[in-house]
């Protein structure tokens, strides 16, 4: 089966991205492209460079070199593009502890340019979609990690971004919530949203992703499609990369 030809520019294109952190290369010569409606899983062991990559894509960190194109425009020249186009769930979903769930959503909406009735509608819709009604008036500081994760997801989805950047989205979620998260991601992709998520769980990738990119020591080791029943192959590839590199390093 041949993959369809995309005439529109990819929603996201990374070209030779490099970034050093704490004196060592965290991301090296990373090039990737992502089309609307695709779900890409960034897979890698701890410290592989997944979060650094996602932080750069979200605009929270500047690359040392390389280019990021968002919907065909230079993202590094126009970081304000993130406001409308990107929804980001950082690792551990940081919150303003003294604000309630509703206040969080309002603050995120305003930061993304929503106001008035548009903000209220978006807030109501996302609270219903993520079943946050019982938590709506609760302070973010007293939420459990799983609840914070759901709040972070709601904030990322509030303005209906074209690109969803999720750093370890299944962290701290219970199995029911993980299933709901997978459904949500597939729904977003079906609506044309591109999703890039990081994980170190192979099951996460095979369950929701169309494509997978395996990172190790900051560089791309493998990129390809994910098919049903691919779990064993993917597992083999992943362990080969991780073990070979470990052996080389030793």
């Amino acid at each position: 089966m041949t993959s369809p030809i995309h005439v529109s520019p990819p929603i996201l294109r990374l070209d030779q991205l490099n970034r050093r952190r704490a004196g060592r290369p965290a991301v090296q010569n990373l090039s990737l492209a992502l089309q609307r409606g695709q779900v890409l899983g960034l897979l890698g062991v701890n410290g592989a460079g997944k979060s650094t990559t996602l932080s750069m894509i979200a605009g929270a960190l500047r690359p040392d070199s390389g280019d990021i194109e968002l919907n065909g425009a230079d993202f590094l020249e126009h970081p304000e593009l993130a406001r409308q186009l990107i929804g980001w769930l950082p690792e551990r979903s940081p919150v303003w502890a003294e604000l309630s769930v509703i206040e969080h959503l309002d603050a995120h909406g305003r930061l993304r340019g929503l106001s008035g009735s548009a903000l209220r509608q978006a807030r109501t819709a996302i609270i219903e979609r993520l079943e946050l009604q019982p938590l709506a008036r609760r302070l973010a500081g007293v939420l459990s990690q799983g609840q914070r994760q759901r709040l972070g997801l709601a904030c990322a989805l509030l303005h209906q971004p074209a690109l969803l950047v999720l750093d370890e989205p299944a962290n701290a979620l219970d199995p029911v919530q993980v299933a709901a998260l997978r459904t949500l991601i597939r729904e977003q992709a079906a609506n044309g949203t591109a999703v890039i998520l990081s994980t170190h769980l192979l099951t996460e990738v095979t369950a929701v992703c169309d494509r997978v990119a395996i990172l190790h020591d900051g560089s791309l080791q493998h990129e390809g499609s994910v098919h049903e029943g691919d779990h064993a192959n993917l597992e083999r590839t992943f362990f080969d990369i991780a073990m070979n590199r470990k052996a080389q390093a030793a």
Partner: protein, 261 residues
């Protein structure tokens, strides 16, 4: 637009945190007590003052001493100026250091905000809080406007001085908060920096050096004339310079954060 979104977010956070309310309540109680004592002293010396051809009035003896103790040679410690040296750094300490320590600074960057929007939004929110605080304090002498004669010009100059002082202290506080992830370090650095500006000329004066540059650097050299009713462009410019410099440093530091990670 985004600047106002940041400002609104920060204002909300300032108003829901207990720290702001506690500081406001304690300082208002202290200043109300100070006001009552100053008023008592003014009323007690009424007969003597009436005999003087151009003796000090309500503004000189109550309104302005309420705003500062050290600079007006007042009989009571801790006027608004002296309290502001402590409470502004405490209020400003979390503006950026807190965001950095709990990871929410990256959320602001991730929303496409520049370092400048974040710094100015937070600074304006802090300034709004401080101006409301100042308004409540000024309401004490103003509540007697119907019963006494005000020197409105002098009061306006002193108020301008207070507004400029609070603006400068807030900018220094935000700048110190931009350079660390620990709010306590930000507050300590800010208090020490402000105290330094307050006393920088004292050492030189003690050894007989009345250098123009050192005097120009000192905060009291620019605040004192305003409290005495003298408004000069040089003094106003000094405060504006401090604000601009502090906010520029904070913005630069925040942009470097995004570069460095």
């Amino acid at each position: 637009m985004t600047l106002f979104a940041v400002m609104r977010l920060e204002l909300r956070r300032l108003f829901v945190r207990p720290l702001g309310w506690i500081l406001a309540a304690l300082t208002l109680v202290e200043l109300a007590w100070r006001f009552v004592l100053l008023l008592g002293n003014f009323l007690g010396t009424q007969i003597r003052l009436a005999a003087l051809p151009s003796g000090p009035g309500f503004t000189d003896m109550v309104s302005v001493p309420l705003l500062s103790s050290l600079l007006t040679g007042g009989m009571l410690p801790f006027g608004l100026t002296e309290l502001a040296l402590l409470i502004v750094p405490l209020l400003a300490m979390s503006t950026l250091a807190g965001e950095r320590s709990n990871g929410t600074l990256s959320l602001l960057f991730g929303a496409g905000l520049s370092g400048g929007s974040i710094v100015y939004g937070k600074y304006l929110a802090l300034l709004v809080w401080l101006l409301l605080w100042l308004l409540l304090i000024l309401a004490m002498p103003l509540s007697l406007a119907h019963a006494t004669t005000f020197d409105w010009g002098k009061l306006a100059a002193a108020t301008l001085g207070m507004v400029l002082l609070l603006a400068a202290l807030a900018a220094i506080g935000v700048a110190c908060s931009a350079f660390t992830a620990h709010p306590a370090i930000a507050a300590t650095a800010s208090i020490l920096l402000v105290l330094g500006l307050f006393i920088v000329q004292l050492g030189a004066q003690a050894v007989g050096i009345d250098n123009g540059v050192i005097n120009w650097l000192a905060l009291p050299s620019h605040l004192e004339p305003l409290l005495r009713g003298l408004v000069s462009t040089t003094d106003v410019l000094w405060f504006v310079l401090v604000v601009v410099l502090a906010l520029a440093l904070a913005t630069r530091r925040l942009n470097a954060d995004k570069e460095r990670g």
